[in-house]
Symmetry: C2
Subunit: 504 residues, 2 copies
């Protein structure tokens, strides 16, 4: 995006006073007046600043890692959001909203190493505030604060991370979250979350995808039986999590050299964490002499078997892959975790290498309890759709397809071929608006017919109403189909009906 | 809202390790373990913080001046937003989105005295950022940055003001903005903005309302002819703006004592600014011996006459009142300004005293030019709907009416009267979801029928499907109407059709 240096000009009061002097001689002369003023950069903005002599070099840009969304992009986004919300509602979700910032201490201790990416607000006297980092922690704060022990809710809102834009990461981005909170029988809500992920990614038609599934309890059990000390679990997991991007020998040496895990442990670990597959993998691990000794791992494996059964019933197992390299960075997960990746055409050889994650989630049974005065737990499981990546893909697909995206829904432009019909156009327009028809006029007293027709073509308005002296005399209007250029006359009484018929 | 003090417990790694030891004896025993840890308030959140001994007194609340929005409120909001967006689209608007924060200097010098209410972000290395104070300044920054010279767009987003919550003002609130930018013939876009305001307030059925209209040029002209020095325009306007809340004698003494305006000027001023009325007022002012000498005032009066003519055609003059006390606080307005107030039953005696502003706007022809390197102007006019106040009124009305608000759209609950039918319920559910039916089950292996029926009643689900051994054998399901308690049997093949018929 281009940036410009621009010079400050004046506010309304100054403008008006300039005009006061000028308008007596020529109404438009004030447009040629150049007001040069000095503004000091970063000075406090007060009423005062309108009067003094000012000059400022203003860089015209959006903050690093953020972006404006243009009308064409908004039109695509609206479609994507509609698909997502429709699915959430199909699954019986309510919605809630929470503030964009939280008390800083609410976010403290929830995000592990990522906490350094949290945006803080300046201390302007009052509370210490931070912009939300995700929707999950505010959701659990909401549950604890309102003593809600069961809810199925969705929330679509922006979250904020001071991440590195050089890596293609936005600092402000939407998340679409769906979560089920409450004490329920095992794996039923978990399976529904995966079904939702499957439905949304299928309906958005983004291409082939895969949902990787793992369980934090299984990972912990395997780390335990391989002899990794508990104090190293987190750091080893963060190495494991890189395995979809970095080759194994590099991950191996990182574990040995940087994280000081003994080589024989790493090699024992590698026998497990390089595994991925379907139900048979879970079966095999259940019978593994080491893993089967660990009760936590076995609890996870039994749950994963049950989950697989439910996913079979939901008809989504064709996209499910149990993948032991999946670890997920956030601290709060306690059970099943999952991540959906889009597959490129090439990735059929190695399905674990995708185009990147577009949805993720898991079970977090402890987070609400962290906020509750008596430590009361509310088990939760949920998904978060990484909608920004989906937007980019949808935009790219739309561009490639060459389809014309409309940015408005206007059904008809009320036009005229002759001068001096503004009021007549306005009367018709009022009738259309009052009947619920989406209609526009050009904001000119005497627009050219060609300009009006071009406007319809460029914005995709399908119909034009054309009025002139003769039509007004006869009490009719001409309707023109912009695409076919066919014109018919209808009476004013039948106009609304006719437009509805032609645009339904 | 209640606040609690709560104690921090552990993250997942700790949890898992606790479980490792416990699960061998009893799978659920870990629930009874109390982990007491010390956390130091405001310490940096790092992976480290999960391991040390910690304790923290955490106040569970949302930031001052903000609030969570509950599912019932969200359901009401969704309806209000739909009405607003539908109207904006009926008038041919596109939509855009801009970041929640802007470079601080973008906001500098646009808000007069209100600038002290801007939220700044902490300097964490990098740019100086502030949360947006309204949607208008970001919109004009967007236009200048992208060199857009004409657009009709809406934007619905939250804005941030460090205002006094004691006065009932939120610090985070939605604005719904519609603006028309571009060089057009006079008053045509301005009239459409007022038509939109009228349509939205009518369709929301909030009660009687009034749209006050004034013009900054008229105000300036009047101040000029009354002899008020130009340097006092702003401060005098802020006094005038209080006249809908404060009696005239108090405003008068504020002007004389605090703002040092000579009494004879104030008294001359009072002859004008206490006026309000319809077209005849504009006519009267045009013929006023003093006002008619001022070219800027006359320009405004001619525009207001034209505006009134257009508003007549649009059929909205019954709610329009020209009111010279209307000044609007923001610096950037340059022409017509307006503000809609809801009227209480009592306010029929004095229509200028309303329940408070619910929508406002005006013309701001200079703001884009302030951002443009070459000072190129893009005239703009727009409205902003004060949607939070509308939400409160809509919530109150909904409460008073006693109507039951549904927070989900679920059409059917798949239930069972007998144990062990989870998988059968799931199979039916899958069929329904895949057919686009909004459906739920209770997440239990063996829920009681009564519990399932109660769930439907409390959440407003209109239909229950009941399956049992006999139904499965016969390939049928029972559909029960929750309200009438009528039950019919239908075949599985006809189920989707039957549900659609009953819920359409």
């Amino acid at each position: 995006m281009a940036t410009f240096i621009c010079r400050y000009t004046s506010g309304w009061n100054l403008l008006v006073s300039q005009r006061t002097k000028v308008c007596a001689t020529a109404a438009n002369a004030c447009h040629s007046i150049q007001v040069t003023r000095k503004v000091f950069a970063h000075q406090d903005a007060t009423a005062q600043s309108f009067y003094g002599e000012k000059k400022q070099n203003l860089v015209l840009k959006v903050p690093k890692g953020t972006h404006d969304v243009h009308p064409k992009q908004m039109a695509i986004r609206e479609k994507v959001f509609n698909t997502v919300v429709k699915c959430f509602k199909r699954h019986g979700a309510e919605s809630i909203d929470t503030p964009v910032f939280e008390l800083k201490e609410i976010l403290t201790g929830k995000y592990g190493e990522d906490a350094k990416l949290i945006y803080d607000l300046k201390d302007q006297g009052g509370e210490q505030l931070s912009l939300r980092y995700d929707l999950t922690v505010p959701f659990t704060r909401y549950l604890a604060m309102n003593k809600i022990s069961r809810i199925k809710r969705y929330q679509i809102a922006k979250v904020y991370r001071r991440d590195n834009p050089a890596l293609g990461r936005y600092r402000e981005f939407y998340q679409c979250d769906f979560d089920i909170a409450g004490h329920y029988d095992p794996m039923i809500p978990d399976a529904e979350c995966l079904k939702i992920m499957y439905e949304i990614l299928s309906e958005l038609e983004l291409g082939d995808f895969l949902i990787k599934v793992n369980d934090r309890r299984l990972l912990s059990g395997i780390l335990t039986v391989c002899g990794v000390p508990e104090s190293k679990f987190k750091t080893v997991c963060s190495s494991i999590d890189k395995m979809d991007k970095v080759p194994w020998d590099k991950v191996r040496s990182e574990m040995i050299e940087e994280k000081e895990i003994r080589p024989e442990m790493v090699d024992r670990l590698s026998e497990y964490i390089t595994l991925n597959g379907g139900l048979s993998l879970i079966q095999r691990l259940s019978e593994d002499p080491l893993v089967s000794q660990n009760m936590v791992a076995m609890e996870a494996l039994n749950d994963l078997k049950l989950l697989h059964r439910y996913l079979e019933i939901f008809g989504v197992t064709d996209k499910i892959l149990f993948d032991l390299t999946l670890a997920r960075g956030l601290d709060y997960y306690t059970g099943v975790i999952y991540e959906a990746v889009l597959l490129s055409d090439k990735s059929s050889q190695n399905p674990t290498v995708g185009l990147g994650s577009v949805a993720a989630g898991g079970r977090y049974d402890e987070l609400v309890g962290m906020f509750d005065a008596k430590g009361r737990k509310v088990p939760c499981v949920g998904i978060s759709i990484g909608i920004e990546r989906i937007f980019s893909i949808a935009e790219k697909k739309s561009e490639e397809s060459g389809e014309k995206i409309r940015t408005t829904e206007t059904q008809v432009l009320v036009a005229t071929a002759q001068p001096m019909f503004l009021e007549e156009r306005m009367k018709l327009l009022t009738m259309l608006w009052n009947s619920g028809i989406k209609a526009e006029i050009m904001y000119k007293n005497n627009p050219k017919l060609l300009t009006q027709l071009h406007y319809c073509e460029s914005t995709g308005i399908p119909l034009v109403i054309i009025i002139g002296e003769q039509e007004i005399k006869d009490g009719v209007v001409k309707i023109r189909d912009v695409a076919t250029r066919e014109e018919v006359e209808v009476s004013k009484e039948n106009l609304v009906e006719e437009i509805r018929k032609r645009t339904s």
